[in-house]
Amino acid sequence: MKRWLAAYAVVFYAFLHLPLVTLAVFSFNSSRFTVWQHFSFDWYRAILHDPQLLEATRNSVLIAIVATVISVSAGTLCAYGLWKRGSRLLTGSLYLSLVTPEIVTGVSLLALFQWAFRWFHWQLGIYTVVLAHVAFSIAYVVIVVSARLRTIGPSLEEAALDLGANEWQAFYYVTLPALLPGILAAALLALTVSFDDYVITSMVAGVDSQTLPMVIYAMARRGSSPVINAISALITVFFGALILISEKVRAA
């Protein structure tokens, strides 16, 4: 049976990675179609010459960083607070926000913002996108940090308390540093989820908040493919590198 499993694993991993590898390979193809013409960086150059694309990337990065900072802060505090004293309502609603289909989250946030705008004369913009991203990231952060908290266990903190620290000191000087790997993992997760989001962002984005996924989607719908291949390859390489680096740091 071990041989069957190994053979299956080869097929399985090929299936998982083939699409992305194909995109990357064909991003160097000078032809628009799947017939190989010759090696070229044309499509990568096209990315640099597209101001809409560059602005969208800037927006995506900015939104991802700000949303990650906020959701990691709130989420870590929440995970710690829940660990000390559970709250079924909060936990339940966090789980619920996790499984809510993205389109429902998107339209409900849109409804919230449009309703609020009746009173304040504001508009959709980068801040609404950030708020939306925080809304769905918090649950991820709480889960990851909670898992890390369970691994650490209460013993470290109890030892600190026994040695005369008060609750805040125990948290800040003992638990928090021990939590750091978990917080980093949660930050990475929140960053990725935020950078990648299309459905929710497209619903609450405003005039100044075109993000990279929105541009990619528009291109995919319009059929102009090869530039997307290049963008996809870049995104894959970037996040792949990020993950591998974080793994090295964690193992070290």
């Binding site: 628009r32 179609f33 809409q52 800037r58 990065v61 900015l62 960083i65 700000v66 990650t68 900072v69 990691v72 802060s73 449009q114 705008f117 004369h121 504001w122 508009q123 959709l124 913009g125 750091l180 917080i183 980093l184 930050a187 405003g206 005039v207 100044d208 075109q210 528009a218 995919a220 719908r221 319009r222 059929g223 102009s224 493919s225």
Partner: protein
Amino acid sequence: MNRRVFLLGAAGLASCRRDTRPHLNVYNWSAYVAPDTIPRFESEFGVRVRYATYESNEEMLAKVFTGNSGWDVVFPTHNRIQPMRDYGLLAPFQHQWLPNLGNLAAQFRAPAWDPSLQYSVPYMWSSTGIVYSRAAALAPTRWADLWDPRLKGRLTMLDDPEDMLGACLKKLGLSFSSTNPSDLHRAEQEAIAQKPLLRAYLNAEVRDQLVAGDVLVAQLWSTTAQQAIDADPRLKFIFPAEGFPFYCDCAVVLRESHRQKLAHQFLDYLLRPQVSAAIAEATRTATANGAAHALLPPDTRDNPTLYPPPEIIARGEWPRPMPLAAQKLRDRIWTEIKSA
């Protein structure tokens, strides 16, 4: 350590986006300006233009109807102008800021949907017809040909309720903008009967597939079809015998805009003959600007797909605005067709 770095980085990024030039927010159809149109406007007027694109009127209207979308200039199709006006979304023009209005072609100077050009400036016009490849099983000449079983799997229709239902209505010999419920239900039956033959409902993305040969026959707008023909001259575009629609996309200024004068200046800029001609050449669309039309090279100026001769224009119809009840019925029928 990491949180502080994040915060610093975010602050750094936020600060480097400061731009003190006045802004103009323009929301247009995709592939409707030349590469240098916007940059030239930006440098001449010293402003920054935020330019985004959409693929359908509904996509644009969904953002705009709220009355505080942030857009200054949008480009609705002509039969959406009256409802937008009725709903108070459009700002009336100050004609003293639009000296180039006289450049419009004769037929667009007093169009049916806005006779005094009070709210809209005709921009580009097009029609919907059939584009087909020489490799197709038959050469279509009418909408009814698109129901031929020999086209199975290589045929697409537009992912647009107005055009798709319109084609079915014309096939039945009815009016393109019919509001009669029984007419619409008969059209629905036609659409459902055709669905098994279709590869998909696609808009502009079918252009690449036509060129690649994936799709052999498609219902498509004349301008998009011309772009496909440019890439593959073996493709042909025809105006169906039973009738077809003409559309004119018009530039409007939204009432919510705080930059009325700048918006007018942008519209006036688009009306300049050289600018409009450059756009028409680059995007292969049909301009409503008569002075620009005269500047085009002869083979573009007389291109029958983009600028059809008068006898063809006589066979087409300009869709009228849809009353609310009919619009709701059409929306529902569209959902039923898509999920059949």
